[in-house]
Assembly symmetry: D2
Homo-oligomer: 148 residues x 4
Amino acid sequence: MDAIAPTAMTKSELEQFLRREFPQLYRTAAVIIEHADGKSCRLRQTYDDGMLRPGGTISGPTLMALSDVSMYVVLLSAIGPAGLAVTTNLNINFLSKAPEGHDLLAEGKLLKLGKRLAVGEVALRSAASDDLVAHATLTYSIPPQRNV
Amino acid sequence: MDAIAPTAMTKSELEQFLRREFPQLYRTAAVIIEHADGKSCRLRQTYDDGMLRPGGTISGPTLMALSDVSMYVVLLSAIGPAGLAVTTNLNINFLSKAPEGHDLLAEGKLLKLGKRLAVGEVALRSAASDDLVAHATLTYSIPPQRNV
Amino acid sequence: MDAIAPTAMTKSELEQFLRREFPQLYRTAAVIIEHADGKSCRLRQTYDDGMLRPGGTISGPTLMALSDVSMYVVLLSAIGPAGLAVTTNLNINFLSKAPEGHDLLAEGKLLKLGKRLAVGEVALRSAASDDLVAHATLTYSIPPQRNV
Amino acid sequence: MDAIAPTAMTKSELEQFLRREFPQLYRTAAVIIEHADGKSCRLRQTYDDGMLRPGGTISGPTLMALSDVSMYVVLLSAIGPAGLAVTTNLNINFLSKAPEGHDLLAEGKLLKLGKRLAVGEVALRSAASDDLVAHATLTYSIPPQRNV
C-alpha cells in the first residue's frame, strides 16, 4: 500500500484498527465512523452516562478523546495503518455545553499532510444542536517508516 | 447600536478603525477588508519586502499579526467598535512557506460569540497557491460594556 | 469566604470536591493532592492498567484529564469551591512516553488569576523519570458570582 | 560541532546570527541576549515606541515575535546554527498589559529537545513589574541535517 493514497483504509478497516488501538472508547460507548476519505472524516460517538460530569454536561476529557481519535481516523484514512503516529500537540477550545442524552458528532479535516507532521482540525457538535461544542487543532508526528 | 447585530460595522468603518488601532499594519503594507459580515471575513494584505525573513519566505510575526487582525475584524463586524476587546489566546500552526512577492489572504470565521469571550479561526493562504500557509485559533475577551 | 484568599480550601476539602466533580477519576485510579497553596499544586495519580493504550504507554486522554484536574485544583485552592468554573482552552504538548506501571505526577501553577479568567500551566512527569511527559497550559472561565 | 552540545553557540555568535535571521527586530529596537546555556535563555528587548498599539500598551505582535525569537535563541544555544529550524506551532496567552516606556524581558526554557522536534516555553515580563505579561509554548521542527 502506498503511503499517501486517498482513503488508504476502508471504514471497516479503520474501525477494527481503532478497537485495537483505543479500547477505552469501546468500553461503554461506541464510535461509529460515518465517513473518512483521506481528507476529512465524520464520527459519531453514541451517548453513554459515563461521559457526563456533574451538572449533566459531557466532560472535557470525553471531548478531548473524541477530538484525538477523529484526527487519528482522518490521518489513517490518508496514510494507512500507521500505528506509531502519535499526537504531539492538541489545542482545544470549549465553546458550549453538550447536553446529556445525545450523541456527539465530530468532523475532522486535514490541514496539512507532510512527511513528518500532519495537522488537522476537529469540530465537535452535539446531535441535539448545530452549535459547536468544541473545536480542536491537533498535530501528529508521523514515524519515518510509517507503514507497519 | 445593539450588541450583536450582524455586520455591525461597514467595511469602510472597519478600515478606519483598523488604521487607528493597528497603525503598524499600514506603515509599509496595506490590509484590505474584502468581506466582513458578522460571521466571517476575508482580508488581503498586500505584499511588501518588509514581511520577509532571510530565505525569501514571509515571517512568522507577519502571519501572527494578520491572524490577529482578521479575528478582530470579524469580531468588530459582529459587535461593533469594541476598542477594548483584547486577544487572550492565540494558537497558530505554520503549515507551509509563503513565497515572496505575493499577497496574503486571510479567511476568518467566528466559532463562538459569547457575552464575555469570542473564539474564531483564521486560515491564511498565499495568493500564489491554494495550500494553507498557516491556521490560527484565537480567543478575544469582550469587555463588560463593549460599545465605546 | 472571601474570593481570593490563598489556600481557600484545604487538601481534604479539595479531595471531597474532586470526588464529587470528577467521579471518573476515581473509578479505577486515585488522584492524591499532595500540595495546593493557592499558587501551585502537586498531584499524584496512582497507576492503573486502565490508563494504558496499546504498546504499553499511558494514553493521551489520561494525560489531558490529569492536566485539567490539576489546573482545577490550583484554581480552587486560590478562589474556593467555584463549581461553575469551566475550562475554556487547553493546549497540551506531548513530550515523551510515560511507561506503564508507574504513577503520574502533576505540578500545576497559576500564571494569572483575574476576575473572569484564570490561566495556568501543568507539567506532567512519570514517577519513573525526571523527564517531562507532557506540558499543558489551560484557561478557566470564572463565573461572575463564583462562590457557590 | 556536535549536535547536542550545551551552549553550542556563544552569546556573540547568537547575536550575529539573529541580526542576520531576524533583521526586523533590529530596525527600531534591540534584542540583547543576557543569557543562553543550551537549556534556558534570558533576553531583553529595549523599549521603542514602535512596539505600542493605541492606548499605550505593547502590541500583541511584538510579544509574539519576542516569544518566537526567545525560543529560537535557546534552541540555537543547544544545537548550534540550525538556520533551517522553523516554528511549527505557537500558543500564547496574553496575561496583562505591558506598559509603554519599559523594556521587555523574556525567559525561555527548553521542555524537550528531540531529534525532529523541540518544544519550549517563554515567559514575558515588563521590566516595570514582576507580573507575567504573556506566556507562550512553541514547537520548532529541526531539519534532518541540522548543522548548516
